[in-house]
């Protein structure tokens, strides 16, 4: 039964990533990105992402913002503000994954 459930979940994950326009991220990389967002983005945006020196990154604050501009902010930073570019550390599909999850409600590290 457990095997069947897991298989079902895996098919679900496979389908959802098949519909997305980017290849799925390896679970190991996903957990690295969760750590990066919570810890390193968290140094300005708060570990709970409710804001600090930088703005809050909660689903409410991001819901009206186009994903493409958020991805661009992550990759290229926002000149004139303290937001730095992360393109040396993140691919575009990884930035997509982060924005998608921020807008849904970002997963916890544990």
């Amino acid at each position: 039964m457990r095997i069947l459930t897991t298989a079902g979940m895996m098919i679900g994950i496979a389908f959802s990533s098949a519909f997305a326009d980017t290849p799925p991220l390896h679970p190991q990389r996903q957990s690295e990105l969760i750590h990066l967002v919570r810890q390193d983005c968290g140094s300005c945006h708060g570990m709970e992402l409710r804001g600090g020196l930088g703005p809050a990154l909660t689903p409410q604050t991001l819901k009206d913002k186009p994903a493409s501009s958020l991805v661009s902010t992550i990759l290229h930073g926002r000149p004139g503000t303290p937001m730095p570019p992360w393109k040396n550390f993140l691919s575009e599909s990884e930035a997509d994954w982060i924005v998608d999850n921020l807008q849904k409600g970002f997963p916890d590290a544990r």
């Binding site: 810890q39 390193d40 709970e48 804001g51 020196l53 303290p82 730095p84």
Partner: protein
């Protein structure tokens, strides 16, 4: 009468031995490390290089800091979620706890130890509490000359029962005289520069400096002569070539004041700046491994230890000030968030966030002399801070 004296003696001896049995001890060799992900702290002992206890239930402690009561018994823990928790280092329990704001960044304790002030991002301002009871004494909304509320950064105590802090959006420095605690007398300095992101006070309590993110240099206020106003210093710091991205803002509390010299992390440069503390002029700059977050002077002031922002946050470097050279580069582990010296500098404690441990080094031999399991450690604060202005 003759019978009462021995009886009193017996009673007195009983009380004394009772005290001895209850582990009477001082707090001068104690400290606290923040466990940022679990809302807990551990009480540390630098004599035995050990942890005495864990205290839970302090809320969101990402970016938490601590000030100590003047008897060095209580740690006031300023949490990110606006929590203010008073932890008793002797009983190792929470004495009092309040939620005083929505999003806060740090705090300070007054020179007389009676007032604890907290700097808030949301709602932007400073709240002042009775240090015993944590009852609200004064609320200072940070409404700048632009008419809007600013985030408050760089809150420190200053001699003369004052608090000094900076307004991030408005670009102002305010001095709050708390001699009449319910009616703070504010002196406001406007137009000090764009985006002050943190502030510090020199250990003599004379100069308050706010680092500016939005322009070059620091905004400098001489607290001995407020009428002279805020002036710009170290304007050359930050110029010279393109700025590099900053993945974590430097902390200025750690600006190492070493008597006649002050060591500052450059912003957007992989350098530290050495400045003369009297003239506030740059005397040297030293290339280092990354964007410096903390520059911490070893007591005595000969060496300054540095940690770095992502992606160089696995590295620690040691600057020897007389020769102005990097004399050691260590890679103790991933996520070196903070470092703190024991009061006389014979030990340095490092928090390794991603390794879930605190490591203790001998700063002379650079040998590791201890390691403690600590969950996602960040700030380490020893009680020696109780007796230092600005900490």
């Amino acid at each position: 009468m003759r019978a009462r004296i021995p009886l009193l003696l017996v009673l007195a001896l009983g009380v004394l031995s009772g005290c001895a049995n209850s582990n009477l001890r001082g707090t001068g060799d104690l400290g606290v490390v923040i466990e940022r992900a679990t809302g807990s702290v551990q009480v540390l002992d630098t004599t035995h290089r050990t942890s005495l206890a864990r205290v839970d239930g302090l809320g969101d402690l990402s970016h938490a800091s601590i000030s100590y009561s003047r008897d060095a018994r209580y740690a006031y823990v300023f949490g990110r979620d606006g929590g203010l928790t008073k932890v008793d280092l002797l009983t190792q329990r929470i004495d009092r706890r309040i939620i005083q704001g929505g999003n806060s960044i740090g705090g300070a304790i007054s020179a007389d130890g009676k007032l604890v002030a907290v700097a808030n991002y949301e709602p932007g301002g400073v709240k002042v509490f009775d240090a015993d009871t944590l009852a609200l004494v004064a609320d200072i909304p940070a409404i700048g000359s632009d008419g809007t509320r600013s985030k408050v950064v760089g809150l420190v105590d200053a001699p003369g029962q004052r608090f000094v802090f900076s307004l991030f959006e408005a670009g102002e420095i305010w001095v709050a005289d708390m001699r009449d605690p319910k009616r703070p007398a504010l002196r406001k300095f406007t137009g000090v520069g764009r985006e002050p992101y943190d502030g510090m006070i020199t250990s003599d309590g004379r100069h308050y400096a706010a680092g500016l993110f939005g322009e070059d240099g620091v905004a400098l206020l001489d607290l001995w002569n407020l009428d002279a106003g805020v002036r710009r210093a170290l304007v050359e710091f930050g110029r010279h070539g393109e700025k590099l991205p900053v993945y974590k803002m430097p902390h200025l509390e750690g600006w190492a004041a070493t008597g006649s010299q002050i060591v500052l992390p450059a912003v957007g440069k992989h350098e530290v700046i050495i400045a003369d503390q009297n003239s506030w002029k740059e005397v040297a700059r030293i290339p280092v491994a990354g964007q410096v977050v903390f520059a911490v002077a070893r007591p005595g002031g000969r060496e300054v230890w540095l940690n770095f922002a992502f992606p160089n946050n696995d590295t620690v470097q040691v600057v020897d000030l007389p020769s102005r050279r990097i004399v050691q580069t260590l890679t103790p582990g991933k996520g070196v968030l903070h470092l703190e010296f024991s009061p006389r500098g014979e030990q340095v404690w490092l928090s390794l966030r991603d390794e879930n441990r605190v490591e203790i080094y001998d700063p002379d031999s650079f040998a590791r002399i201890g390691t403690l399991p600590v969950e996602s450690p960040s700030g380490i604060f020893f009680t020696v801070r109780a007796h230092r202005t600005g900490l």
